[in-house]
Symmetry: C2
Subunit: 201 residues, 2 copies
């Protein structure tokens, strides 16, 4: 998303830049709510050019889901491989998941995708992404019950991010207790990377 302005980039570089912007915008406004023009602006290109590169908004959304899944795959693989500390596997992967808030819109775009199960193209793609994460966890050694608990906590994290619960932190005692219970260790990370309310679209 770092502005590219007038420079001429390779198609691949532009695609990557636009997908990054798409994650942020789809995450913030949803599949239907996000305009291809919002994404174009965020990537500093024209709206027709976004359509030119991806043909349709639908393709672009699918590419965004794929990008999110790739990032998770890489992050989880690194967490599994990192045996330098004595932190248990569940915590390492959980930490990796929360750290992905640094990829703006990742959790929210996935949540959006998970609500599009009825969509003929996005639905199967979203189910596949979810099932893929299940496989990654199982292959990493989680038993079915542990994988379920991990996913449940992940969906709760996604929800609190989408709700922007961090916005109300400090204003509502119920919210404070909820937030502190859900992010006992990762609180500062989540607060720091909470989506800002002042996004330009």
């Amino acid at each position: 998303m770092a502005d590219a302005k007038t420079s001429r980039l390779s198609s691949e570089q532009r695609r990557a830049q636009i997908v990054e912007a798409a994650l942020a915008v789809f995450g913030a406004k949803g599949y239907v709510g996000a305009r291809t023009d919002d994404i174009a602006r965020a990537a500093s290109v024209s709206q027709p050019y976004v359509v030119r590169l991806f043909e349709t908004k639908e393709n672009l959304f699918v590419a965004a889901i794929q990008e999110a899944l790739d990032r998770i795959t890489v992050g989880f693989a690194a967490a599994v491989a990192d045996t330098t500390s004595d932190v248990p596997l569940e915590h390492r992967i959980g930490h990796a998941y929360i750290e992905l808030v640094q990829v703006r819109g990742l959790h929210q775009t996935l949540s959006q995708a998970f609500l599009l199960g009825a969509h003929p193209v996005i639905g199967p793609c979203a189910r596949n992404a979810f099932a893929r994460v299940w496989s990654i966890l199982r292959d990493a050694g989680f038993d079915a019950a542990a994988a379920k608990d991990f996913l449940a906590e992940g969906m709760l994290i996604n929800t609190l991010i989408g709700l922007r619960l961090a916005d109300d932190y400090g204003n509502d005692p119920r919210v404070d207790e909820l937030f502190d219970t859900c992010f006992p260790a990762e609180k500062m990370t989540v607060l720091a990377f909470a989506p800002r309310a002042d996004e330009p679209w």
Copy 2:
């Protein structure tokens, strides 16, 4: 949603009918994706009349969230009060939550709302609904950790419903294991009430 056709109802009855339709349609298509006309059709009234009764689509969505929260409140209260069996409280409330799939679109509309944290009107409303459920659980005797676990599982259930994972049940071994792990007891209920792919809008 039972068709009303040409009959003249009281404003209150119509509102209730439209809110019921709104839950189903907002749940299926999201806040932006749902058209006021879809909701009008589902409630067998004209599109301008929906706007007449609720002023704006935004108001209607807020009314749908409120309806969902009311249903949850009533269902949970009944589960807490029902001490006729020796089923533990967590299971009774959990069962009540899953049974709410019978209110079409309830879980999905809430999920949609939970992604609208940035919306100036819906965001605070959604955060309040979530915090309200937290309070209900805490007041019912759950400690903070148990309330968190309950909500996490609830968000996982919402996700699997939104994904329409039941659509793929029997076709993908990963999905089967995931589904069976997440709904060991309530499987048949969830499968039976899974949103149909052939909704008329």
